[in-house]
């Protein structure tokens, strides 16, 4: 067989490829079927809309995180940056008196800026991304409190619109879809996106091949910051206010979504579609446990087990396939 050299049959390749790229999908489907059997409240149009809305924040954060993890880094600051961006936006509107849409753009800018600083600290300052972004987590959360004096700030109508409806469709779902398309386009079709895989796979080989590794890393973190800002504004829109403690701890959810979605913290692997499935797994578990009225202490136990199982199903599947 080893004779074939070049072009290459594609037997059922797409189906296999899809499953390989979306391992946790199997886990998600199993989870949904179980919930469908367990409670009639799960598979209702309203509940599915709820899930769509609920997944939006974590998924958007996780899309940004996907860039970082694909490129071999980690970003612990996304939750804090989300809060800082939304709070800055609220402040620009409420205290600085800027027009709502400028405040909205300003919030996005703050997120991208924080991400750029992460990227520079990592790429030029040679700080491990874990440390650079841990520092940013603390700084951004602190600044959020400073700006707000610990109080929520209500957001301009433009931001609240992000949390509302466009006709019958909730805006968070629209934004989620747009963010997914944009992230996936960036990662799959653009030079910078493809370069992220190379940098995460072997940064030295990428550098020697002439890829601008530093610039790529800065872009990666800037994008993570921008997506975090979008998630933060989305959240503020849903809550009609920027909260000083908004999105606290979400970084772990975002990383978990990316990893459940098939990426490796070692870098070089990851897909937006996988990340989306990973975020859905996390949200569907919580939604389902609420519907089933599992008591909140046991809920955490069950969440842990289901996360392990959802990823475990994928591991098992891969094992079976390869043998």
């Amino acid at each position: 067989m080893s004779t074939t050299t070049l072009p290459l049959k594609r037997r059922g390749l797409d189906y296999k490829k899809f499953l390989a790229n979306n391992g946790a999908l199997v886990g998600l489907v199993v989870l949904c079927i179980a919930l469908f059997i367990a409670t009639p409240d799960f598979l209702t149009a309203q509940n599915l809309l709820n899930i769509g809305i609920q997944v939006s924040t974590v998924a958007v954060l996780a899309f940004g995180m996907t860039f970082v993890i694909v490129a071999g880094g980690i970003d612990l600051s996304v939750g804090a940056v989300a809060a800082l961006s939304a709070m800055s936006s609220g402040w620009m509107f409420a205290s600085a008196g800027l027009p709502g849409w400028i405040a909205l753009l300003g919030g996005l800018f703050v997120g991208a800026l924080a991400g750029t600083i992460n990227g520079l600290a990592n790429a030029s300052g040679k700080l491990p991304s874990f440390i650079a972004t841990l520092a940013m987590l603390s700084v951004a959360r602190g600044l959020t409190l400073v700006i707000s004096d610990g109080r929520p700030i209500s957001t301009p109508a433009e931001v609240s619109f992000l949390g509302g409806n466009l006709g019958p469709v909730p805006m968070p779902i629209i934004i989620l879809v747009l963010a997914a398309l944009a992230a996936s386009f960036l990662l799959n079709r653009t030079v910078i996106g493809r370069s992220m895989y190379a940098v995460g796979g072997n940064a030295e080989a990428a550098r020697l091949s002439g890829l601008p590794v530093k610039r790529i890393l800065v872009t990666v973190f800037a994008l993570a910051g921008l997506f975090a800002a979008l998630a933060g504004l989305l959240l503020a829109g849903r809550l009609d206010s920027a909260q000083p403690q908004a999105a606290a701890g979400y970084e772990l959810d975002a990383i978990a979504a990316v990893v459940i979605g098939g990426a490796s913290l070692a870098g070089g692997l990851g897909k937006i579609s996988g990340t989306f499935v990973g975020a859905l797994v996390l949200v569907v578990i919580r939604n389902g446990l609420n519907l089933l009225n599992v008591t909140s202490f046991w809920q955490q136990v069950v969440i842990g087990l289901v996360i392990a199982l959802a990823v475990g199903v994928d591991v098992l599947r891969r094992k079976t396939r390869s043998s």
Binding site: M1, T190, G201, G210, G268
Partner: protein
């Protein structure tokens, strides 16, 4: 051979998913003999020996050790039967010391604790066997690839195996270290150790081997004595004759313009005061011993490392210090010495790996030219005869030689006119070498220039139009193709090597 073999792979087969890599092969290793495996890149040599080493389990056939059928589920099981392996790809822990790497999995203990002095002593003894004299506390990650290879060899030697498998141990070595290794092998043979030896250096076969098993496309082709003439071996291996192993066709460069000019280049601690130029149509070879600073020089020219002083210019235009992108824009292509660590993104596809250097240049509006990249990659893979299952498979699963060709191919696609080659044919089979040499010819014929570092003297002598010899980070001398002989080069390279070793 009436004697019972130490180990036999009996009618073994191996498949990876849909790909059959080994089909019905039988090979034996006898005490006190060196069995050679010969085959093109991707013929299945490494896969075959991995079954003997306990890394892979055969899908067909069985393994016989001392007349008993055995299974080797782990490397430890193989080791317990006295089988030690030097793998083709280095298997060292870069963050650990040489001593710990040599004794990995076999740390000497006293009262249940690591016995550090025994650890160092045994590691030193192992290094001494192959004449490597470095502090055993040095981190392996701080060593160049050649010394890492020596550590890997020392590690296997220290096991005191009855059966020693050597998968291309000499690929990264200069003649000097190779001779030390052969001396050890001769000694082991005298002590009844059976060996299985793989190399693409045909001259080494007659030197150390007893019998040769030839593989082609995973199938057994022939078993012949090691004294078989090289040309016959080549024919068995590739199925055709290779007329000229070094088909260098140099033109007259006396009137040609200088393409690459290096002036008083110095990098503190690595090399100093290096000046030379390469003309259009010329191949300049750089010879030297391991550690002479050749790799550092090449990396500095390529923009991979910053230098302290001096200048590098391409076609008269000075390149900025430490800018790989500027170097590439000026037409430079750099094939690094460590393909696994520096050349390839192992988890990425062959297609992606071939295209990195041209990703940005061929893009439109920042969007990747997928179709173009793919057709260029396919074309070059075909031209270099890269043996693979599909161009979308991860390059980590290709055989070593085919990986090397892919690194080379990246710069062919980029149409580089100044190639900086660091051990360009390490691990490449004879047939493919000639293909690479032909490519070098094509590039020089089109007015390109090539700077080639190689530890393989025949390659340096056969392919260079001019040879610089480096020693201790300086240029020790220059030879024209006409004056260059192995002796002349070695004399310049190693003039006071003995003093240096102590």
């Amino acid at each position: 051979m009436s004697q019972q073999p130490l180990v036999t792979l009996q009618n073994v087969g191996k498949t990876f998913g849909p790909v059959t890599v080994i089909k019905d092969v039988t090979v034996s290793v006898y005490a006190g003999k060196v069995q050679v495996l010969l085959g093109e890149n991707g013929a299945g040599k490494s896969t075959l020996i991995k079954m003997m080493a306990g890394v892979y389990q055969p899908d067909a056939g069985h393994i016989v050790v001392d007349g008993q059928t055995v299974t080797l589920p782990t490397t430890r099981a193989a080791e317990e039967l006295g089988i030690a392996t030097i793998h083709q790809e280095l298997n060292l822990v870069p963050t650990m010391s040489i001593a710990e790497n040599v004794m990995l999995g076999r740390m000497p203990t006293k009262h249940g604790l690591v016995d550090r002095s025994a650890l160092r002593n045994r590691a030193r003894a192992a290094l001494a066997l192959i004449g490597l004299d470095v502090d055993v506390d040095t981190l392996v990650g701080d060593l160049g690839i050649a010394r890492q290879q020596l550590v890997e060899i020392a590690k296997a030697l220290s096991i005191n195996a009855r059966i020693l498998i050597l998968d291309e141990p000499t690929a990264a070595l200069t003649r000097h270290e190779t001779e030390s290794l052969f001396a050890v092998m001769t000694d082991l043979r005298r002590r009844g150790v059976g060996m299985l030896f793989i190399s693409h250096h045909l001259d080494e076969i007659a030197e150390v081997g007893d019998t040769v098993t030839v593989l082609r496309d995973g199938e057994f082709i022939a078993e012949v004595p090691a004294s078989t003439p090289e040309d016959d071996l080549v024919k068995l291996m590739v199925g055709r004759n290779i007329e000229d192993h070094f088909p260098r066709s140099a033109g007259d460069v006396s009137q040609a313009t200088e393409i690459l000019t290096v002036d008083k280049l110095t990098s503190a601690g690595s090399f100093s005061d290096i000046s030379f130029s390469v003309k259009a149509g010329e191949v300049l070879g750089i010879a030297g011993l391991v550690g002479a600073g050749r790799t550092e020089l090449i990396r500095a020219i390529a923009g991979a490392d910053r230098y302290t002083s001096g200048t590098v210019a391409v076609r008269g235009r000075q390149l900025p210090n430490g800018s790989i992108q500027a170097a590439i824009a000026a037409g430079i292509g750099h094939v690094p010495e460590d393909r696994k660590g520096q050349g390839l993104v192992l988890d990425a596809s062959v297609n992606d790996n071939l295209g990195y250097a041209t990703l940005a240049a061929t893009a439109k509006l920042g969007l990747v030219d997928f179709a173009g990249q793919r057709s260029r990659a396919a074309e070059v893979a075909m031209k270099l005869r890269i043996r693979m299952h599909t161009i979308d498979q991860s390059i980590g699963a290709l055989s070593g030689g085919n990986q090397q060709k892919a690194v080379f191919g990246r710069w062919i696609i980029a149409a580089s006119t100044v190639l900086l080659l660091d051990e360009p044919t390490r691990g490449v089979d004879v047939g493919a070498k000639v293909e690479i040499y032909e490519l070098m010819n094509a590039i020089t014929a089109a007015g390109g220039a090539i700077l080639m570092v190689s530890s393989e003297l025949p390659e340096i002598l056969g392919m260079s139009d001019r040879i610089l010899v480096m020693r201790d980070g300086r240029i020790a001398g220059e030879l024209t193709a006409a004056e260059a002989t192995q002796d002349a080069v070695m004399t310049l390279a190693a003039r006071d090597v003995d003093e240096k070793y102590e």
